[in-house]
Symmetry: C2
């Protein structure tokens, strides 16, 4: 083609383009200097004491956390590497499942040597429990596989022995577990039954001639499934099984069985298979177990709730099988507590990375030939990340509060812990997933590199939304519990007490029709609007269920039909509980910059929750003008929080080494010299 024809083609193309929509005009035709990385710290200032804020957020055991961060940074086992002149530690996710499992186990041994788990099962009391929770959180910040593998061993196996077992079990297993002389797993879930634990099909009978229990997997759907530790490392397991005594099924009970000898060989009458490669948590060796009429000593029944006598008589103080089942499940609440808390730390990692990047990455310019604009100076980018930051703060207080109630639990607080931990587990893990997704998109392609963590964390934490109670099922349980409370108070004509429902004893709050900025930021207004929503949804839900029941439907069916109201109510309850915890934290602070900023954060949390929940308009708690005011106020708060963004993520207290390279000098980290 001659030059002339090329020009002709150019003419034709030009004509097409003249009809195309204009593109933004921002080309700097004379670009002099290359792009330079400028650390956010250079341009941003700290408007409050970041160390104090970090102490407030972590809530407890700050020094213990830092000690453990240090231990991990000191060891090459934690995959230390230099990028852009900084040291980072994070797992190499380009390893196969098999490699990830082995390195995770080695990390566990290293931390054992360093004494990290000392007292995790043999010490008791709130202080010991909080320390353990703090250290587990730090492990989870390094790698979810590490904390989950530890969690299975200490919190599932170890706590099952502790809570379901009695002295004989404690003496035999607790210290040995703490020292990793035995490696425990927890065989509850089966291929055919996960959330519905009562439906499990494993069957245990008792043989009085030998004084043994006989555990059997009667069919393929009864194989134990997802059992962390079973595929490779565990020597012992808790087995959940139906207990059949003389032809009567006494329901689900827990037993101890050995599955491997000290050399790692599978024991007789045990078969084990792998669950295979997963989208995350590949450091955890999830496996499957079949029991072929495995015989275990009678003493291996965890007998705190019920026992079988040597001659085969079933004895339990709890006659009702429903209640007996409940007794087994109650101690498992700790799982929901740690999951909720670990979800928030994961969201913190994502936000710290995405916000730091948005304070050093520029794109496009607003004026022709003007300088490119920092991502976080775009109102749309602020709107994507800053509300998530505020939510993470509020939920961080909620997670701490839950831990405090949990470690100080008494029989009286059991119900509240069950309900609150269910709601928080669901809301906080969903929040984590949303936050990580938004952070991944907000950092663009860099978010899909595993070394930058933010995308990888999505796969690593994804299972949170369904394990230890499917989130949707948990939210329904919250609403059912509130329903039961409501019905019981009304029936007995007694005031509401507990679960934060006391506000229902007063008359409905009346909201102002005009919402000024100061009204919107007023904590009393925010509480009122959250209470109004919870109260109204609870009344609607109970009335809808009652109506259906009146027409002959079962209570269960009536719940099922009203699942949307149930979800709205579960959310309203949980969001109000969260608001209360950040209000409490704020109230305890002396006047000053930290309190002021936390006030902004709390208002953002309250208003974004209103902005995002269509219930407020749908049920008329707020008018169209009101929600317009809320949206404008959220924008204003974005602008006011923008200068504090760096300080707010720095206050998360996560050491630089535990964030990804794009959170720092990503130009140098990618320089040829570092290849």
């Amino acid at each position: 083609m001659s030059e002339n024809r090329a020009l002709q083609r150019a003419h034709i193309l030009a004509n097409h383009i003249l009809r195309s929509p204009p593109l933004p005009s921002s080309l700097s035709l004379a670009r002099e200097v290359c792009l330079q990385y400028s650390p956010p710290e250079l341009n941003e200032s700290y408007g409050f004491d970041v160390k104090e804020m970090r102490r407030l957020l972590d809530g407890h055991n700050t020094e213990d956390r830092d000690w453990l961060y240090g231990l991990m940074m000191q060891s090459n086992l934690f995959n230390r590497k230099e990028r852009g002149g900084k040291i980072f530690v994070s797992p190499d996710y380009n390893q196969t499942m098999e490699q990830q499992r082995e390195i995770t186990m080695k990390r566990i041994w290293y931390l054992l040597e360093k004494g990290v788990y000392r007292g995790w099962l043999t010490d008791s009391g709130p202080e010991a429990e909080l320390k353990k929770l703090a250290l587990l959180e730090v492990c989870g910040i390094y790698d979810h596989s590490l904390s989950i593998k530890l969690g299975v061993h200490f919190f599932l196996w170890g706590n099952a022995v502790k809570f379901f077992g009695t002295k004989r079990h404690h003496e035999k297993w607790l210290k040995n577990t703490e020292d990793y002389v035995v490696k425990g797993c927890f065989a509850m879930t089966e291929l055919g039954h996960g959330s519905n634990v009562r439906g499990i099909e494993t069957v245990t009978t008792y043989d009085p001639r030998t004084g043994e229990f006989v555990i059997n997997t009667p069919c393929e759907s009864a194989q134990k499934y997802w059992i962390g530790g079973a595929a490779k490392h565990a020597t012992h397991t808790i087995v959940f099984s139906q207990l059949n005594i003389n032809g009567t099924n006494q329901g689900v009970h827990a037993f101890i069985a050995q599955i491997r000898d000290e050399d790692g060989n599978i024991c007789p009458n045990i078969r084990v298979a792998d669950c295979g490669h997963k989208i995350g948590l590949n450091g955890v060796d999830n496996g499957r177990i079949w029991f072929d009429n495995l015989r275990i000593p009678r003493e291996n029944l965890l007998n705190s709730v019920a026992d079988v006598s040597p001659d085969g008589e079933y004895v339990s103080a709890i006659k009702d099988p429903d209640q007996r089942f409940g007794a087994f499940m109650a101690p498992l609440t700790s799982g929901r507590v740690t999951i909720a808390s670990s979800a928030i730390y994961s969201a913190k990692v994502g936000l710290a990375i995405a916000l730091r990047y948005s304070l050093s990455r520029r794109a496009f310019s607003v004026k022709a030939n003007g300088p490119e604009v920092l991502l976080l100076d775009y109102p749309s980018h602020q709107r994507r990340l800053l509300p998530l930051l505020a939510k993470t703060y509020a939920m961080s207080f909620a997670a701490n509060d839950l831990k405090m109630i949990y470690v100080k639990r008494t029989p009286e607080t059991n119900k509240a812990i069950h309900v609150v931990s269910s709601g928080l587990k669901a809301v906080l893990t969903w929040h984590n997933m949303h936050t990580l997704q938004e952070c991944r998109e907000a950092v663009g392609g860099q978010g899909v590199k595993t070394e930058n963590l933010v995308g990888q964390l999505k796969g690593e934490f994804d299972v949170q939304t369904t394990f230890e109670g499917d989130n949707n099922v948990l939210m329904q349980q919250v609403s059912k519990a509130l329903f039961a409370e409501y019905v019981s108070c009304k029936k007995r004509n007694k005031p509401f007490r507990g679960l934060g429902l006391e506000h229902m004893n007063s008359s409905r709050p009346v909201l102002p029709t005009q919402l000024s900025s100061s009204t919107l930021r007023c904590s009393q207004f925010q509480k009122n609007v959250f209470c109004l929503r919870e109260r109204d949804l609870l009344e609607r839900f109970t009335s809808e269920v009652a109506q259906l029941q009146g027409r002959g439907e079962s209570r269960e069916s009536s719940f099922l039909v009203n699942h949307e109201l149930a979800e709205d109510l579960g959310k309203a309850f949980t969001e109000k509980a969260i608001l209360q915890t950040i209000l409490d934290a704020e109230a305890k602070l002396p006047a000053g910059s930290m309190k002021d900023v936390l006030g902004l954060v709390r208002s953002m949390y309250a208003l974004i929750s209103i902005e995002e929940d269509p219930s407020f308009l749908r049920y008329g708690y707020l008018s169209r003008d009101n929600v317009g005011d809320v949206r404008r106020e959220v924008s204003k708060l974005c602008g006011e929080l923008r200068p504090h963004a760096l300080a707010l993520v720095s206050s998360f207290g996560i050491p630089d080494a535990f964030l990804g390279p794009i959170a720092f000098n990503w130009v140098e980290a990618n320089a040829w010299s570092s290849v």
Copy 2:
């Protein structure tokens, strides 16, 4: 501890439990039979012709698709395995990045041998293009890495040569590309500039003494980044660079450079590094490239738009650099077309798996001792999945429609293609991510096993939301284009024509105040309510922007401040465009069961879009009673679509082998015999 003390403890625990919230009472105390897998086909019937529906959904080249599915199933390269008596093909995601890259390249060679790419660059016309698109879609259903690696070679490198180049380039490269004699990549993005292509820092000058261009990477931020193929396999690349002629920057131009010789050795003056492990797409060897004053012949400038004469004079028919830049970008629309379409096929895979599983998995029972209930018989499970199914149908028609406009493109349709493809790329990829996440959670833990695909697809497709145009930026472009159209029509006092805005020439539709079921399902009502939303948001957006401009703000800043309205508008525009395509498809069908079911699907699409967008209440298009009616109708539609769920996912036409084992006999697939 004696038995007595154990009993005492049991008493104490029992007292705690009596105060705990009741747990659902569903324990079957006498479980007789073990859980059996029952194929959905046994219990569900097909209410319409599934083959016909599949033909309608795929839209074109059904036989070609089946041919390619067959080719992949016949080769061991595609990781064929048996699970539960069925054959499956899907990549082994437990391989390292390096292994995944090699096997992906081998799959490409195999398909080359089989003639799959014949004519992909050398044939022209709508038919050839549609066939190519269909085959690429099938590759993407097997593995996103496979389609992306092909896409980079054929659609980015190949189409750049075809569209930006002239005869000399075509002759030299097109056939060789089709035959993989050369392996191409596409170096546009740099470390410092992704979405903002005009800001790239690579600089090319011309040396008239030798008749060569000299390409240089002046600083680290100018390194080419994310270049698929660059890390390992590509021999040639398109280089996007600023073109500096005698000290004047003529803006971004595209050149051809060789980066590896036939033996795979890196060429002189080229440095290459790896982008590293990613959360998905590890079969694609994304790399980075530095150019050290690389000299290329003058003829390697892709000169369809502009050229440099042998003595160094810059010639272009397009004087304005903005328009010249636009000329370079216009042919890249094909990327958005294929991404949008591939997103919908990914959503189909997720839904087919999750819905089939929900028709074979049971959990809990509604009555004490009653049978466990199929997941899809829970109203809440229907509500989670069936609206996503309806959206996927509607968007499938939209993707097909986009392909048709694209392959039949003319200068007159360029603008519409740009705007519609931007909106659809964003909305369809977000939909894919939401759908996969919901499907993952809906199948519980099984969703995190990579062999079950549904969770893995999230990582594999995640990058869709930000590559080839960040979704948020694209949505803003849609709104800006609508703004320009509005302003232009008003200024010239001419009626709206194109972009589906013709409805704005009539008066505002008036919606009935009472919405009966038949009104809600009426296509005219649905169109009216979507038009009303689009029109009102467009008017609001232009008026808000005008107000700010009136106060002296620049147009660009006025857009930025109104980003929320812009997003609402972009969504309204795109959802209306989608509704129109499913209405068109429905209208073409003869009366009968297929049309009836498609009508239900279309109503579900329309009503769930209303249910989910708070704009309808926020701006008062609908009243609170209205949205209550919409919610009830969505529930009713869930019940009416439930019997068609299996037929609707079977109509996706994805062979069983390309779904995960949990979509079929997951009990047998997990049996000991298959270990």
